[in-house]
């Protein structure tokens, strides 16, 4: 066990996975010489060489498109997108190829691509360094999506992604890259995709979140005098429906929290799941506390955009 920050845990996972499997390589902008703008890939170039940790041209569609070809040559590429909003140029490759190529091969070829990127707001940065793009990814068939909130999960989910035979996208909450700190198992550490984590047990209301919002929910739980269960989804696809439904069956009240814009955000999917499968368990409306359907703002007012402890707490209170 080591005490690591979330970004250090990411780095640890990459070191372990590249050492474990010669077919894993990392590619992206500034991942090599600089070790990544957040130092997530630090030390890989030195340790594994320039063939296994590759500074690419500045071209996100090129990176992901090349990764498709790399898979055909037997590699397991791990692509870094430098920031959430700078991943958008790769969406075309994602939707038209990454999510479909195995299907197109009649299930005969595998495309074990991992895409990882820092995401989310609150970091006092210029525009387009703050987006939460998970909907674009999770709506795309053929793709899996996971989002850690703790260092141990950051390592374990990334390891699971790299070992997974399907394309997996990992969004890393950059707000807590260096503030989330915790025990991380040494060496091999895999957190299977598709299992939610009960971050806190409670009886009266279920708070469902992922990424940096898990901590916001925990703080709200601290501030409230009702008993809150906090579920850290961790894996958006595959989704641990059973864990969600079990908690809702217990509490009968739900607040879903994410940073992304509200309309057709992943919170809508969670609410729809509950409205479909747990309607008779509910004692009140399924509430969402989310970003708004407006551009992520300049940072002097970003705290009014990102769900806050107060907004979450107010939503919970409105249920009682």
């Amino acid at each position: 066990m080591a005490d690591l920050t979330l970004v250090e845990a990411v780095n640890d996972a990459l070191h372990v996975e590249l050492a474990r499997d010669d077919n894993v390589l990392v590619l992206g902008e500034d991942v090599g010489r600089a070790g990544g703008v957040f130092r997530a890939t630090a030390g890989l170039l030195e340790r594994f060489g320039a063939d296994r940790c590759v500074d690419t041209p500045l071209a996100e569609a090129g990176i992901l498109g090349a990764a498709v070809g790399l898979c055909m040559a037997g590699w397991r590429p791990v692509c870094e997108m430098q920031y959430d909003a700078f991943s958008y140029p790769c969406l075309d490759q994602l939707i038209t190829h990454v999510g479909r190529y195995r299907w197109r091969s009649g299930g005969r070829m595998e495309f074990p691509i991992t895409i990882r990127m820092p995401y989310g707001g609150g970091v006092r940065a210029p525009e387009l360094h703050d987006d939460s793009p998970e909907t674009y990814y999770v709506h795309t068939p053929g793709i899996k999506v996971a989002i850690p909130s703790t260092p141990a999960d950051a390592k374990g989910l990334l390891a699971a992604a790299i070992r997974d035979p399907d394309p997996v996208v990992i969004f890393e909450p950059k707000l807590v890259y260096r503030t989330a700190r915790g025990e991380v198992p040494d060496g091999d550490h895999v957190v299977p995709l598709g299992r939610a984590r009960v971050a806190r047990e409670g009886d009266d209301v279920t708070l469902i979140a992922y990424g940096a919002m898990v901590n916001v929910c925990e703080q709200a739980a601290d501030a409230l005098d009702v008993s809150c269960e906090v579920i850290d989804i961790r894996s958006l696809r595959p989704l641990d429906e059973a864990a969600i439904l079990a908690s809702v069956a217990k509490t009968g009240r739900v607040v879903i929290v994410h940073e992304a814009p509200r309309t057709a955000g992943f919170g809508a999917e969670l609410a729809a799941l509950i409205a479909e499968q747990a309607i008779f368990d509910l004692q009140g409306p399924v509430l969402r506390v989310t970003g708004f359907d407006v551009p992520y703002p300049y940072w002097t007012i970003e705290d009014a955009y990102v769900p806050s402890v107060e907004r979450v707490a107010a939503a919970v209170r409105s249920l009682f």
């Binding site: 390589l25 063939d51 690419t56 041209p57 071209a59 569609a61 090129g62 992901l64 498109g65 090349a66 990764a67 498709v68 070809g69 790399l70 898979c71 055909m72 040559a73 037997g74 590699w75 140029p89 075309d92 490759q93 038209t96 190829h97 999510g99 190529y101 195995r102 299907w103 197109r104 091969s105 009649g106 299930g107 005969r108 070829m109 595998e110 068939p141 053929g142 899996k144 997974d164 035979p165 399907d166 598709g194 696809r237 595959p238 989704l239 429906e241």
Partner: protein
């Protein structure tokens, strides 16, 4: 002389491949009219490019076709029914690229160019001598994916050959509305790689250019862009009616200069081809197509359960919710 490196046997084999491709195309248009296959992207008179360029490859090399090269697997021995089924919307028309070293037919324009770059680079990293050859049209050169892919290959010094089929039309959009460059081969300059322009109806010229490019790639010299120029002499696809935008007289002229007959004439002049061999090439191709369509039509309709079969190796539990 073009094609100098080829023996008579090679030339005959190349001819047979052209006839095979031509026959596939002509029969497909008929099958479409008969309602036996769906919308089909006609490649009539593109055979010299497809047969010529791929003739420079070994079977270990990878081919990345667009919809315009849908039948290019034929040159690797892929059964005609596989390709026919693709156009019939039947799952047995999907193949594993690894079986033939032929990537899937790329429907969205130019997006396979980075795949070819990645494959070539990935093989090079493994010290395998494989070359990747991607085919695309003149219109494709306007897409960002073309640019990013070729640049990637160039920077990685990847053994890739980019073959642009410049038929001077992207559906109804003429080449002048696509680029202001004098030639598409000129685009190579911006990537620091060789750019070559050849007559796309001269199969030996295409072959020579491809051979040089493949040799350079395999020797560690990096990618090449080949522009094979001709003029689209058939509709874009069976669904297209070009009368609105094309000069039909010009098309007639082009049809008269078609590439299979031209090669046939040349081989006859060189004494390589006889009436008999012409006839046998034609007959073999027709037999293959007859067997292909029969096999395709004999296949049972697919099980709708296939919907859920291949999206994931390890599918999410709720995949059937819908």
């Amino acid at each position: 002389m073009p094609g100098d490196a080829l023996t008579d046997t090679d030339l005959l084999e190349l001819y047979r491949r052209m006839v095979l491709l031509r026959t596939y195309d002509e029969r497909s248009v008929v099958y479409h009219r008969q309602g036996r296959i769906g919308t089909y992207a006609i490649y009539w008179n593109h055979e010299a490019i497809q047969a010529g360029a791929t003739f420079a490859l070994t079977d270990e090399d990878w081919i990345f076709p667009s919809y315009r090269e849908s039948a290019i697997g034929l040159v690797r021995g892929m059964p005609a029914e596989t390709i026919l089924q693709w156009w019939r919307g039947h799952p047995s028309g999907w193949w594993s690229p690894a079986d033939w070293n032929v990537a899937s037919i790329c429907v969205p324009i130019a997006t396979h160019v980075p795949h070819a770059a990645g494959l070539a680079w990935g093989k090079k990293l493994r010290d395998e001598p494989t070359v990747a050859m991607a085919f695309f049209g003149d219109g494709a050169t306007s897409e960002g994916a073309f640019h990013e892919g070729v640049n990637f290959a160039a920077v990685m010094n990847a053994p890739a050959v980019f073959v642009c089929n410049n038929n001077q039309w992207a559906i109804s959009t003429p080449i002048e509305a696509q680029t202001r460059a004098e030639t598409l081969a000129d685009k190579a300059v911006g990537y620091g790689i060789p750019g070559v322009r050849v007559d796309g109806l001269d199969v030996l010229a295409v072959y020579d250019a491809a051979r040089e490019a493949v040799e350079r790639a395999r020797a560690g010299g990096g990618p090449t862009l080949i522009e094979a120029v001709h003029y689209r002499a058939a509709p874009h696809a069976t669904a297209d009616d070009p009368r609105a935008y094309i000069d039909l007289a010009r098309v007639e002229e082009e049809r008269a200069r078609e590439c299979v007959g031209r090669f046939e004439k040349l081989l006859r002049e060189r004494g390589v081809l006889s009436d008999e061999l012409v006839e046998s090439a034609r007959k073999d191709a027709e037999d293959l197509m007859r067997a292909g369509i029969a096999a395709a039509e004999a296949e049972a309709p697919p099980d709708p359960e296939l919907l859920f079969a291949h999206a994931y190796v390890d599918p999410p539990g709720n995949l059937r919710s819908g």
